[in-house]
């Protein structure tokens, strides 16, 4: 299993390493560039998954509360929407960092 993961990583990053070797400025370490793309992808996937778990819990509690007290459904729904947007904003921060890694490329 570990060998499989190592082989997959090597296969996926080998073209990036070849590309980076072509564009090497004199004396600079440029093997960080391809790995930043990899990290951006994994970070976004991780953040999206955890955000989904958090939002699932929030919606589940909100729906339970609405079933228990249908009269308060409007206020519970407002609080649920605010809670969902706040949880989602954490994944959006990771998206911003991923976009910085992909497009602004601070380390080439």
């Amino acid at each position: 299993m570990r060998a499989l993961i190592l082989a997959a990583t090597a296969v996926l990053t080998a073209p990036g390493l070849a590309l980076a070797a072509d564009a090497a400025p004199a004396g600079a370490i440029n093997w960080v560039g391809p790995y930043s793309v990899l990290v951006a992808g994994f970070a976004m996937a991780f953040a999206a998954g955890l955000c989904a778990l958090g939002q699932g819990r929030a919606v589940a509690s909100a729906v339970d509360a609405m079933a228990r007290q249908p009269g308060a459904a409007a206020r519970i729904q407002t609080a649920m929407i605010i809670g969902l947007a706040l949880i989602e904003s954490l994944a959006i921060y990771v998206l911003v960092v991923a976009m910085i890694l992909l497009f602004v490329q601070p380390i080439k």
Binding site: A79, I81, I82, G83, A85, L86, S89, I92, Y93, L95, V96, M99, F103
Partner: protein
């Protein structure tokens, strides 16, 4: 970002895009307000009626979150809300470059909110009392630590407002750009228009699927996100203002971030 840059319908020379389109939104909003308030009648009709409904909704929100002492802030909050809503929706229109897809506009709105709620709190309670409330209901030994933590969390608020609005709007932009430019929409369209029978079938099918997916699913999602993000921005502004002007005995509930329920109703 060169791969997803596409110039909007018109740009003024020497002025950045987000400034130009902010001016357009300002002209639109000011023009609508002027037209709606020209012959103010007791029984509203037409545009005045529509705007009275909109402002009534904002008034309802303010009453729910801040309470009746929040009414003087209705112009500020309604302007912020309508501006962000219109600029978000403008980024959906194909020929235009929405201002909120740039970090400058969202940071400007967040900085305005930051200074506004501190000024409102300091004006209501007096500057020194307001600052003393930062220390919280903790024993005297812990007050300096609490003060520092509170300062950091207050500084995190405009940052989170900025990044939330920017990330949602720009993320939608990047998504559309990826669907169209990087998934080969132009290639499929060229294949369909090349005239070969396989090209027409395959390219036409691919093009139709992409257009149906974008117009049928992504655009309604982006419209929802525009409304939701404007609503969240305005709601958080109101929560910060209500946190700044509340009295000392409810101070303990101020640390719970955005899930604040004011106790005076």
């Amino acid at each position: 970002m060169e791969v997803i840059e596409h110039p909007p319908i018109f740009r003024l020379p020497g002025i950045p895009d987000h400034v130009t389109y902010t001016w357009i939104v300002m002209i639109v909003l000011a023009g609508l307000a002027f037209v709606a308030s020209r012959n103010v009648q007791l029984v509203p009709r037409g545009l005045q009626n529509f705007f009275e409904v909109v402002l009534e909704q904002f008034q309802q929100l303010i009453d729910d979150v801040i309470g009746p002492e929040g009414r003087p802030f209705l112009p500020f909050i309604a302007t912020l809300g309508l501006f962000i809503l219109l600029t978000n929706l403008m980024s959906l229109v194909p020929g235009m470059n929405g201002p909120t897809t740039s970090l400058n506009t969202t940071a400007a709105c967040a900085v305005i909110v930051f200074f506004a709620y501190h000024w409102i709190g300091a004006r209501k309670q007096g500057a020194l009392t307001y600052l003393a409330h930062f220390a919280g209901p903790v024993p005297l030994a812990l007050k300096p630590l609490m003060f520092v933590i509170e300062i950091i969390s207050h500084l995190a608020r405009p940052l989170s407002l900025t990044l939330r609005l920017f990330g949602n709007m720009f993320g939608g932009h990047v998504l559309i750009a990826i669907i169209f430019f990087l998934m080969g929409f132009d290639g499929l369209l060229g294949w369909a228009l090349s005239g070969s029978p396989i090209g027409i079938v395959g390219g036409g099918l691919g093009t139709t699927v992409m257009i149906a997916f974008t117009v049928g699913f992504l655009y309604p999602l982006k419209i929802l996100v525009s409304f939701l993000q404007a609503f969240i921005f305005v709601m958080l502004t109101m929560l910060y203002i209500s946190g700044a002007i509340e009295e000392a005995e409810h101070h303990g509930s101020e640390h719970h971030g955005g899930e604040h329920q004011p106790a005076h109703h």
